[in-house]
Amino acid sequence: MAGATSEGGLDPESARWVERLSGSGRSRESCVRELHELLLRAARREVRRRSGTTPVGGRELDDVATQAANDATYAVLAKVGQFRGESRFTTWAYRFVVLEVSHKLGRHFWRQPRADLADEDWARLPDVLGAPPDHVVEVRELTRAVRRAVDDLTEVQRRVFEGAVLQGIPLDALAVRHDTTRNALYKALFDARRKIRAHLVANGYLGHEETEEVQGS
C-alpha cells in the first residue's frame, strides 16, 4: 500500500510530520502553519467539489472551508499522538477536513432550507422507488403498501424515513435537527428499510428470495 503500515512504522513523510508536530519551538510553529495551509487548501477543494449539492454558496462556502480547516487543524494537533501509521499522515489529516466540511454543511442546511420543503411528500415516493411511469395502478398500490409499512415503524424510524426519503433532507442536516448523529439516523433508516421490505415481501409486492437475509429487529 502507498504510505505506511502499522507493522512497518511510518513512511518517511508521515514520520517527518509527526516528529515536527510533536516537537516544540519554531520548528513546530512552522509545521502547524504548514499543516493549516494544507488543510485549508483541502477544505476549499472539498467545498468546491460539493458546491453543486448544497444550498450554501459564495462567501459563506469559503467561511465553511475556513472553519473546517481550523477545526481539522485543532483535531489533528490534539490527536497526533494517536496516529499509528495505518495510512499516510496526510490522508489521516484530510479525513478530519472532509468530516468537518460534511458536518458544517449539514448545519448550514437549516440556515437556508429549500423552499420546497414540505412536511412530508408521499408524491416523491414513486421517484425514490424508481417506479415505471406506465404502471400507475401498481405504483398507487405499492405506495399504499409502503405507507402501511411506515405506520408500523417506531416513531424514530418513521421520522427518519419521512425526513430523509419523503422530504429529501440530507442525513447530516437531519442529525442537526434531531440533535443526534449520522450513525444513529443511519441505523434507524437501516431498520426502517428492512421492515418495509419484509412487509412488502409478506404482501407479495417483492420476490421472496430476497427475504432470506432479512432478520427481524
Partner: protein, 88 residues
C-alpha cells in the same frame, strides 16, 4: 410483478454493513488502499457494503479519495509567502 430493481436496491440491507461510525473511523485506511489500487473491499467488506448504501459516507469517501488522488498543491502565492517568511 413489475421490475422494482431500484426499490430492491433502496430497501436492500446487508447485515455486514458496519455503519457510519466504524466506516468513518477507518476511512483514511480504506481510501489509501483504494488509491494504491488494492482491493479495499475484500479487506474491509463491511465498510464497502456501508459505502454502497450510505449516501453521506459515500460522499465523504469520494471527497477524501479526490484529495488523496490529486493533492491540493500550494499555489505560487503560498510558496512565495512561505519563502519570504523564511519557513522551511
Amino acid at each position: 410483478m413489475s421490475d422494482w430493481s431500484e426499490l430492491d436496491t433502496f430497501l436492500d440491507t446487508d447485515p455486514a454493513d458496519v455503519g457510519c461510525d466504524e466506516a468513518m473511523r477507518i476511512l483514511h485506511v480504506y481510501v489509501d488502499l483504494v488509491a494504491a489500487g488494492e482491493d479495499a473491499a475484500a479487506r474491509y467488506p463491511g465498510v464497502a457494503s456501508h459505502l454502497r448504501q450510505c449516501g453521506p459516507c459515500s460522499e465523504d469517501f469520494e471527497g477524501l479519495l479526490a484529495l488523496v488522488s490529486d493533492p491540493p498543491s500550494a499555489g505560487l502565492r503560498d510558496v512565495l509567502r512561505r519563502k519570504l517568511r523564511g519557513d522551511r
